[in-house]
Structures are given as C-alpha cells and as structure tokens.
Amino acid sequence: MTSRFGTLEINPSDLLHFPQGIPAFEHLKEFFFYPIPENPAFTWLQAAADPEVAFLLVDPFLFFPGYAVDLPARLQEELAIKDPADALVYAVVTIPDGDIRRATANLVGPIIINPTVRLGMQLILEGTKYTTRHQLFKESFSDDESIPSSGGNEG
C-alpha cells in the first residue's frame, strides 16, 4: 500500500536496501523505485514499510551541469560499488506548498544507489558549497561556479 500510488505489488527482488536508512528516517531500510514513465528525469523512491513516505528524486546532472559527487572509498565499499560510473546518483526534490516552480533539489545529500546489488544510502557531502535547496527551475547553471555558495549548509 502507498498513499500516493495506490496498492502496488512489489517483487522482493525489486527492493532497494538502505542499511542505514536515511537521516530522519533511519528506521526505513527498504525502498523501491516508482518511475514516472513519461519523465525519466524524475522518479519516486517509495518506502516499503511506510505508505506515507516517498521521495521525489531527480537526476541532478541534467539540471546542474557542473554538479559533481566524489564517492568516498567507504561508501563504495558499503554499496559494493566496483566502478563509480555504475552508481546511480539522485537528488531529493522538495516542492514548497506544492508549487512546482519553487521546487528545489538537495545537492548536499545525494542518494547513491548501486542498482546491481540494490544497495543505497544518502551521502552527505562535507566541505562543499552545495546546500539542501538549489532551485530547479528559476536558475540554470552552466558550471560549478554558478551554484550558489553558502558554505554547505542552509540558513
């Protein structure tokens, strides 16, 4: 059961395991993709155990061309990532008051998934200029330097 998508049948082999959960939802360890067929730039990540909890994810590289994520060795080990190019990287989208024009992406806490072994976690990038709220639509970024700087945290 999900609150947004009705009742879904999920094959256990489709589940993504987040051994540490994600911050604020540490108790939720299993999620699954609920794709948006007409829009491959976005996908939902639905919690298996809580019908209310779903995250809208976006491919950050489509919207923020200068975006880069360094995958720490520890993360590659935990997610059994052999080639970083094979890892999926998503940014969590927030839509204030449901107003899509004000949608923001969290670039400081990307969701990293190894689709091969179906393991995932949220990485927190320390020491970057990224924040939890980058405008998806009002600004366009052509390179690293145009991403707003606020020391990696938000006010």
């Binding site: 911050p23 809208l56 806490g109 927190i124 320390e126 939890t132």
Partner: protein, 77 residues
Amino acid sequence: MLVLTRRVNEAIIIDNRIKITVVAIEDDKIRLGIDAPPEVPIVREELLAAVANANKVAARTPAVAVGNLPLKAPQPK
C-alpha cells in the same frame, strides 16, 4: 559527556586512530584538525540536521505535483 581542556596545538586521540587537534582559537571560533581513517565519516552536526530536515519535508511531497514537471530545466538565455 567527557569534558577536557585543551590549548592550541594540543590534541585528543580517540580509539587510538582518530586525532583531533585544536588548530586555532579566535573569539568564539575554534578550528579543529581531524586525522581519521578514510572510512570514518565526519560531518558537521548542523549539516546532518539540515539534510534530515530536508528529508522530512521532501517525504511529504504530494504525488499530484509531478504531472507538471518539465523534462529538463530551461536553458540559460
């Protein structure tokens, strides 16, 4: 909570493998140097809290919002 007094350039060793050095003190700011194995994640508490708060808000995103999503951001003019 263990509370220790340190001066500039003095350090604390945690678990024989993590060294925290007081690098500089100015007014109400202290600069810390941390030597830790690469597998030890280090993150400022307020950054973790910011991500947790963002996740709480994002988890409530309604499904209806998605219908209007464009495929890609408009290109810069």
